[in-house]
């Protein structure tokens, strides 16, 4: 809502206030002033008369003018094409500042001719171009010939001394889409009296039209007919008020409709009487057809849209926009004025669907005052008499099945103070209700308040309590805290999640946060943990943000690509986020390693590989108390499309796949335009719900350990794990530590074979081991290795 302060000042005195202070007070009380603008701005202005106008000798477009400003005659060089002798014009004197063009006027020589000021256009004074004619836009403003030469209060003289507050109204304060209701609220905020709307007396004749509604979306519909009108330009005060409220003047009749709507908040619609097909308006909501609105666009109507019909014509899309067929034009001589009440929800549905938002639809959507229709119609009729020469005014005809019973809400002083934590007195509360012009009865400490019909936002005691504190001011609230005690602590899952995040950042990974909504082209990539059907957004805003992701990995690969293309080659990331499938949301942890972790080139830090990511995953699991053999590895399928089949594994707990670790498939690397990226994705929901075993201390062994190294040669495809299993089994509980310290292929080892060197630590918890005891165990282990794996001891 754009509001003219001059107009508001007609009802509540505000012109003595600093504008910023007023805006601040209104904002604190819930009428947020989003911006302040001036209809026109400029100081040191004066009205002058051009008494001489010669062409500049050194220019083909400049004029040298002599301008009489009352007490002086100034020489001014003017570039406007329309300047001429005899015109009354606006002159900005030396030293004047024009904010619209950020210019300070100085004495100057323009092509060797002295110029002592500037003849202004309205645009240069800051009047919005949309209110100016082609002529006004291209030249200086030419004032009427009776304009007072020497007048220095120019903006006020021209009626351009108004200020516009652009309000960002909350959806509950539809009432403030009205200058008068706004004045009421400002009056309450400032605790100043507000003038009532003037009563209107009209000489009326019997009505000739009828109206009825056939839809519950319209329970109040009124028509007033006014004849013998003459369409012409609006008077200046109407034009300026409309301008300050952001509406362009069309003609007196249309402007009067807008003027009344702006003042009262009640939208009016005017039908050209001569274009009506019958004497009866019927409001219906069951049309499915095309409708040509007065903006000359075609709209497809649906059942439910409110149609004001007349004969076989849809004359208005109720509450949204009139029809082209009955619109006012320069030949209009009579109008039927409609004031109605439409259900806001239906207006919202219609205008949203048709993307047709009008001043009228905004007001009906937010709620109008059901008791202001008659006043609005009478005011419009009275203005048509005054400004359009109307003669014949008919009595208003009504269809009205609305409940007009006044709403009463009770609130007690105790409930006020106990909700707010304040210490207000009965008197404090009465003052607020008086300022708001709310009628009330006070019994003991209970206020029974009659809610004015324009305040649709008040229906329970909490609403009244809000009125009290916003009018009194929130500075009356003391600073206290809730009195009950409670324990604040993270739960187990939240705590573990935080431990994991901290750990990963500490070892050198950056935490990332990427979007949930992803592209169709990526939605199935890396979904190996999530086989559920994908969730798609209805009417996505773009193809890129159409699906809820099934894996975090594609987003992180895109992030890696982004960083690589900015010459950042080591990109190590993790992200904890939900992933989605139909009926299933799980929280995942994804880790991606690209390049080198904690890279210092000087020390030739090794590039990350499978064992880096494996180690990180095991560190994460270990950190929250989960160690092998509680989970097992299993290679990914040979035909896996997302992970390198030779360098990737799944993690299982029992039969549940809880994670995947590995190198992305080269085809994926190509698709995402990244290099080798090692990835881990873990189902955190599954992992964090696993029980963590309690620490139980094991006594330290006082007997010395004995370390033996062995090296065995096995076939290439023998996995170390199978060797370790045999060692553990053969160790009979005497082996306390096993370390693989070398895997070797090359000279001295036959092609297709590898040598694995392992260091074994023997220790008995009951005694010091002797050489022969260790030899016996180790020999058995070696012979098992030879037998089961065809291993050969390397000597």
């Amino acid at each position: 809502m754009k509001a003219s302060l001059k107009w508001i000042n007609e009802y509540v005195n505000i012109d003595d206030l600093n504008i910023n202070e007023l805006a601040n007070k209104m904002t604190l009380a819930g009428l947020e002033v989003e911006s302040i603008s001036y209809l026109a701005q400029g100081d040191k202005l004066v009205i002058g008369e051009v008494i001489d106008c010669q062409e500049h000798i050194e220019s083909d477009h400049l004029h040298v003018c002599k301008v009489d400003i009352g007490d002086e005659i100034l020489q001014i060089v003017c570039g406007a094409p329309n300047v001429a002798k005899g015109q009354r014009v606006i002159v900005a004197l030396e030293g004047a500042y024009l904010p619209a063009i950020d210019l300070t006027i100085k004495k100057a020589k323009i092509r060797n001719v002295e110029s002592n000021g500037m003849i202004c256009s309205l645009s240069e004074l800051g009047v919005d171009d949309k209110y100016l004619s082609e002529e006004q836009l291209n030249g200086i403003e030419v004032l009427p010939s009776d304009a007072k030469v020497g007048e220095t209060n120019v903006l006020s003289y021209l009626g351009l001394d108004d200020v516009t507050f652009e309000l960002k109204l909350t959806p509950d304060r539809g009432d403030c889409n009205s200058i008068y209701s706004l004045a009421k609220d400002i009056g309450a905020i400032l605790n100043r009296p507000v003038k009532p709307l003037e009563a209107i007396n009209l000489k009326e004749v019997k009505p000739t039209l009828k109206c009825i509604s056939q839809t519950p979306s319209c329970q109040l519909f009124k028509i007033k007919t006014v004849r013998d009108i003459k369409v012409k330009e609006s008077p200046d005060y109407i034009k300026k008020y409309l301008m300050a409220c952001g509406i362009r003047s069309i003609n007196n009749v249309v402007d009067i409709g807008n003027y009344v709507m702006l003042l009262t908040g009640q939208p009016l619609h005017m039908y050209d009487l001569n274009k009506l097909k019958s004497d009866t308006f019927i409001v219906k909501d069951d049309y499915e057809c095309e409708f040509k609105a007065l903006d000359e666009q075609l709209y497809q109507l649906q059942k439910g849209d409110i149609c004001i019909t007349n004969g076989d014509d849809i004359s208005c899309l109720g509450g949204v926009m009139g029809s082209f067929s009955t619109m006012i034009d320069e030949n209009t001589t009579g109008v039927a004025i409609e004031a109605a009440h439409f259900k806001g929800a239906q207006i919202r549905r219609t205008s949203t669907r048709l993307q047709l938002i009008s001043d009228s639809s905004i007001r009906f959507t937010k709620g109008t005052d059901i008791n202001r229709c008659d006043f609005a119609l009478n005011l419009a009729a009275a203005l048509l008499v005054k400004e359009a020469g109307a003669q014949m005014i008919e009595e208003t005809v009504s269809y009205d099945v609305l409940d007009h019973k006044e709403r009463e809400v009770e609130v007690t002083l105790t409930s006020i103070n106990s909700l707010l934590g304040t210490n207000f007195s009965l008197n404090d509360v009465s003052e607020v209700f008086d300022a708001l012009d709310f009628k009330y009865e006070l019994k003991d400490e209970t206020f029974k308040v009659t809610i004015p019909s324009y305040r649709n936002d008040i229906s329970i005691d909490a609403d009244l309590i809000e009125e009290i504190i916003r009018i009194k001011g929130f500075e009356h609230l003391p600073l206290t805290v809730p009195s009950f005690s409670s324990v604040g602590a993270l739960n187990d899952v939240q705590n573990k999640r935080r431990i994991i995040r901290t750990h990963l950042a500490s070892i050198g990974l950056n935490e990332a946060m990427t979007y949930t909504l992803v592209d169709e082209k990526k939605i199935e990539d890396f979904h190996v943990l999530n086989r559920f059907d994908v969730i798609k957004v209805l009417h996505p805003m773009s193809d890129e943000r159409a699906y809820l992701r099934k894996s975090i990995v594609p987003s992180l690969l895109a992030t890696i690509n982004y960083n690589l293309s900015r010459n950042i080659s080591d990109v190590n990331l993790y992200e904890i986020s939900n992933v989605y499938g139909v009926d299933r949301i799980h929280e995942y942890l994804a880790i991606t390693l690209c390049g080198t972790l904690n890279n210092v080139p000087l020390y030739k830090t090794a590039k990350s590989d499978f064992y880096t990511i494996k180690g990180i995953v095991e560190s994460v699991l270990g950190l929250i108390g989960i160690e092998q053999p509680r989970y097992q590895y299993s290679r990914v399928e040979k035909d896996n499309n997302y992970y390198h089949p030779g360098k990737s594994v799944y993690l299982y707990v029992g039969k549940t796949r809880i994670g995947v670790i590995g190198l992305i498939h080269p085809l994926m690397a190509k698709k995402y335009e990244v290099k080798d990226v090692y990835v881990a994705e873990l189902d955190l929901d599954e992992i964090l719900k696993m029980k963590t075993s309690q620490v139980k201390f094991t006594p330290l062994i006082p007997y010395p350990p004995m370390t033996r190294d062995i090296a065995v040669v096995v076939k290439d495809d023998v996995e170390v794990e199978s060797i370790l299993k045999i060692i553990k089994k053969g160790g009979k509980g005497l082996i306390t530590d096993i370390n693989v310290f070398d895997v070797y292929q090359g000279e001295n080892i036959e092609q297709g074979y590898k040598s694995i060197a392992i260091s074994l630590t023997y220790q008995d918890k009951n005694k010091t081991l002797k050489d022969n005891e260790v030899n016996e165990v180790q020999n058995k282990i070696i012979s098992s290795l030879e037998k089961v794996l065809d291993a050969k001891l390397r000597t």
């Binding site: 909350t170 929800a345 937010k366 934590g421 939900n578």
Partner: protein, 345 residues
């Protein structure tokens, strides 16, 4: 003989003091004290002396030996220390070369703010509750006093998945879920951090995905003054002890009264600057007293219980705190951006 000994001693002590390394020192020791040394060769002559002279000579020769020996030992210590010093000098490295990299990397700035607010609230006795991002229309809107066709639904343009399911537009449905879990019995004191979604085109100031933290306290006598006091503590902890807060009347369907909360500008102490656009105040969050309809629908008797709720936009706090000028940075994850937050925990 006495003269000879004295001469040897003088010579030995001088030679020893001139020794330059341990090897040379050892040679001198052998020369002067070894089996083939002059002193040693004088020993047998002692027996040939008259017995009354023997003791004096013995004393003399032992004295010489001891003094030479002491000198050798002193010199040895000195040379050893010197040698060690030389060795250490030789081993000196360029300490200005970089250390190996054990630096912790960054938490995401959104996480940093979430953790910080969470920690403050944990200290004030709040529990952390979480809820689903794919939410029903019922919990996201209707249970929060936002029936279908409510004009305030326009404030939150929604990603629907089907008619009844959507991506939550705020963390408020977690309030509802938590209230329901408590079966109409208070008190409760929770915060709910999480991602939320709205149909906004991504630009410098809008993001279709963002992060919120919701707070909710319900008990029999929780007041709006408690809300103001709580938020005042939060603002001071986050923006400095000198900060004050200010309420502005506002509207949310699920709270009544509703307020927007401003904090006095931390950059100019409220004097007015470019960060607060000259007003001295910065909007940081929305809050209010839980609407009686919300309590009622969630099984709490509004005649018995009342409470407050607040909702913080995490990106907004991060933007203010770090002076970030484009919300899209949070979701681009440029390492040059992320690494700037490595020192924040």
């Amino acid at each position: 003989m006495k003269e000879q000994l004295e001469k040897i001693e003088i010579e030995a002590l001088e030679q020893i003091s001139l020794a330059t390394d341990l090897k040379h020192l050892n040679e001198l020791r052998v020369t002067y004290l070894g089996k083939k040394s002059t002193i040693q060769s004088l020993m047998p002559m002692m027996g040939k002396l008259p017995s009354e002279e023997r003791a004096a000579f013995g004393q003399l020769i032992n004295g010489v030996k001891t003094r030479i020996m002491t000198k050798v030992e002193e010199k040895q210590k000195e040379l050893e220390a010197l040698e060690l010093q030389r060795k250490l000098e030789k081993e000196t490295i360029d300490v200005t070369l970089p250390g190996k990299d054990f630096r912790a990397k960054s938490f995401h700035p959104i996480s940093i703010i979430v953790d910080e607010i969470t920690n403050i609230c944990l200290g004030m006795g709040y529990q952390v509750e979480e809820g689903p991002e794919v939410e029903s229309d019922y919990y996201n809107f209707e249970m929060l006093n936002l029936p279908k066709d409510h004009p305030a639904r326009e404030m939150q343009d929604t990603f629907y998945i089907n008619e009844n399911t959507l991506l939550r537009t705020h963390t408020s449905p977690v309030q509802v879920r938590t209230l329901l879990k408590h079966n109409g019995v208070g008190p409760l004191k929770i915060i709910c951090p999480g991602k939320v979604y709205r149909r906004d085109d991504d630009d410098a100031t809008h993001s279709h995905q963002f992060y919120q933290i919701e707070g909710l306290v319900v008990d029999k006598n929780v007041t709006m003054a408690d809300l103001k006091g709580t938020l005042s503590i939060l603002a001071k902890k986050m923006f400095g002890e000198k900060r004050e807060i200010k309420f502005r009347s506002s509207y949310f369907p699920f709270t009544e009264p509703s307020v927007e909360v401003d904090v006095s500008c931390y950059a100019c102490d409220g004097k007015g600057c470019s960060i607060c656009k000259g007003t001295g105040w910065i909007e940081i969050l929305g809050a209010g007293m839980v609407h009686p309809n919300v309590l009622k629908m969630s099984g709490f008797d509004p005649n018995v219980y009342q409470g407050f709720a607040f909702g913080i936009g995490v990106e907004r706090i991060a933007i203010l705190r770090y002076g970030i000028d484009d919300i899209r940075y949070f979701y681009t994850n440029d390492l040059r951006f992320l690494n700037q937050f490595s020192k924040e925990r």
